[in-house]
Assembly symmetry: C2
Homo-oligomer: 446 residues x 2
């Protein structure tokens, strides 16, 4: 007997989950409030580019999609830090050759995932359909066609909420239950901007890296695109001086960029138009529990753990959810309740840690990247990693270039930090003992 | 021109706010989903009794209602702690005669507040009416009469959300905005039970105190009632062994009470019936921001800061909200936007601290009340307070018996704790120096 799944949301997590579920024999209907991501102009002007890293790659490989995705992406071998004085410094991501991230446009990747899922037997996508009600016990959903207003009841065996940080599935799943929800917004927003390719069609900056302009008043990152352009995301406080609220004239925008990202102004010929054309994006963190109801309703991606983009792990962790959910459904094929419980048990502690790490990385990018202590710690980390790559792996490397679960990575990084501090303390103590011994041996006491 | 206010919720905060707003010249319509609290049997079986303390009393006094309320309440001069071995100990609340709490039944108090508000010109209550939609910009609400299904649009100048921890007003006020929401549930629930008056009509335990059975596996509190009975609230984990989940037979319930509250079994002749008749209550903490929209929509009480009941401050802080909101509306009579901003500024930092204190007091009641260190600290606090009542006030005293804002009370308590610790350290250092001096003077070295 065919089992039926309904997925709310045809974003990255929803469309990848559709393919996985189809492979497990589910007939899958995906409902998405927005239009088809394959249509022209979809999602433009408000989407941080994505850096695909080890976790996301593993999940795409398991779905047989990795090669297709890599063909549309640009490898990033490290980070170019742009300093306020206009100088730049290249920091490789890791010491090993495979420690590479891949930059991909959200809409390209989304279109690819929808295409791939649609080729599977029994998968249909319904764009422009809003979820109106979810009966978590049936389970069943009522969807409304935005164009006609017609409502349809759809029964299923499994409902997957891949409907983002403001998930309607989560709302219904948790309604009236002892459900924890922690949702907070960063007081910084963002604008998408572009560094187009030069007039000669060649990139204006090196294309094999993520570009970062850290800073306390504002920061910017730029991801390379296959056409030689880069998509920039400018982050700044919503309010205060200077802030997104005060950047209300072309002169203000130009002056701001000139002051905080002096080398970037010349790279962005359409800066002012784009700044005023594009909406301001918001950044939110969501931690919540439970993620599931019996064996019937389950959440993936931002719906259960939205994170700030500063660790580049939002998509990667959402893909990892899909993979782990698939593994759990495979492990308990006749006990969906147990499968979903196991999925939440395996994922939630780790994505909660990821949320913390992503907040921390915002603070680090804003306040610490320029400081000597940060550089010293990073250098020590890199040196130890080079000397003993198995025994010593910096936290960033574990998060971005391995699939060690997030909480385990953090625990290991803390152990390493303690060792580093103890070594420093031992060295200091050794020096002190040495001085004391020298004092005791001073001539007058002999 | 008369200004119109709509209040969502006719609970304690909503009905007190109705009176305040009427006094400021508003015409007030209060909509409440549930039935009239003055009807027979309203709200039975799931309401922790309330301990009225200084903050609540000040707000009631300002509304001219304090005497009426005190006439229906029972003074509590301290806490009777019931130990697991069946012994009891009385701890007075404070050293001053006015340091008294007043126990009052929620439904009695609610009925009194509704009655009092209704006598004011322009106040109407509409029970059995559900808020269906809120237009925060108009502002206006759509209410549905639960009995007939008829919907009415009601326009207003000010909408007050006094609709509890799951506030619909909050939802609409914050929808699509950068609103922080932290909501979590305690993994313990509660059952309401009764210690009836004895056959001779006299109380079975002393009536001028709050009775507390602390404990790690379960705890219980009992508030006195004017009829000589006490309303008990038994708190226990939802799951595990033992827990509310495993108390599924009369024998299990009796065995549980006998084991953890040995002296209480004989006091509760209807224990088993009540245990199975009454629903399990849940306990939730809500921290959120913002509390307001322009000068149009504002939240009070649980809607903006639900707290656990373990500090006895839920109602008191809600009443304080109403008083501060009234003061702010009075201070800026022609600028509601500024009034609401000022209200949030004055209240939110303090209620966030109260949420923390209430969590802490749960842990304290559960884990520490029995420990010698706790008793020693409490004794030191009491002694110093007796010696220097102005300079030294224990945290509990400041929270319950003064109207010092919560965050200020906490800051002062921390300073006091530092002094206490420093004094102990100085004393220890003094003793050490003394020993060292004694050593130096020992005969062999002379």
């Amino acid at each position: 007997m065919t089992r039926h799944a309904v997925i709310a949301g045809a974003g990255l997590a929803g469309s990848l989950a559709a393919g996985y579920l189809a492979r497990r024999g589910y007939s899958v209907r995906v409902f998405e409030r927005r239009g088809d991501p394959r249509a022209a102009g979809a999602g433009e002007g408000r989407s941080i580019n994505l850096g695909l890293s080890a976790r996301g790659m593993r999940a795409l490989a398991a779905a047989g999609l990795l090669d297709d995705v890599l063909a549309r992406s640009v490898p990033m071998r490290g980070r170019v830090v742009h300093h306020p004085d206009g100088t730049t410094a290249f920091q490789p991501y890791g010491v090993a050759a495979h420690q590479i991230l891949y930059s991909v446009l959200r809409r390209d990747l989304n279109a690819l995932l929808v295409d791939a899922a649609e080729t599977r037997h029994g998968v249909t996508f319904h764009f422009g359909h809003r979820l109106d009600r979810i009966d978590r016990d049936a389970p069943a959903v009522r969807v409304v066609d935005a164009a006609t207003g017609a409502a349809t009841e759809v029964a299923a065996d499994l409902v997957v909420g891949a409907d983002g940080a403001f998930s309607a599935v989560r709302e219904q799943l948790q309604h009236g239950r002892r459900a924890d929800l922690h949702r907070e917004f960063l007081d910084w927003g963002y604008k998408e901007l572009t560094i187009p390719a030069g007039a000669d069609g060649r990139p204006r900056v090196r294309l094999d890296a993520l570009h970062v302009w850290p800073g306390q008043a504002a920061m910017m990152v730029a991801h390379p695109n296959v056409d030689g352009s880069l998509t920039c995301t400018l982050f700044a406080p919503f309010e205060g001086e200077p802030s997104l609220a005060t950047l209300d004239t072309p002169a203000a925008v130009r002056g701001f960029v000139r002051r905080y990202f002096p080398d970037a102004e010349a790279l962005m010929p359409r800066l002012v138009e784009e700044f005023f054309d594009h909406p301001v994006g918001q950044l939110t963190t969501v931690r919540t529990a439970p993620w599931r109801h019996a064996g019937k309703v389950v959440l993936v991606g931002d719906a259960c753990h939205a994170v700030y983009p500063f660790y580049g792990q939002g998509m990667n962790s959402a893909f990892e959810d899909c993979l782990v959910l698939d593994e759990c459904l495979g492990a308990y094929p006749y006990d969906a309740s147990r499968a979903l419980a196991e999925y939440e048990r395996r994922r939630r502690p780790h994505t909660d840690v990821l949320a913390d790490l992503s907040v921390r990385n915002f603070v680090e990018l804003r306040d610490r990247v320029h400081r000597p202590a940060y550089a010293a710690k990073a250098a020590a980390d890199r040196m130890l990693n080079r000397l003993a790559p198995r025994a010593w792996t910096p936290l960033y490397t574990m998060v971005a270039h391995t699939t060690v679960p997030y909480a385990d990575a953090l625990a290991r990084a803390r152990r390493q930090d303690r060792i580093l501090r103890c070594s420093a303390a031992l060295a200091a103590a050794g020096a002190a003992i040495g001085s004391y011994a020298a004092l005791r041996r001073r001539p007058g006491r002999r």
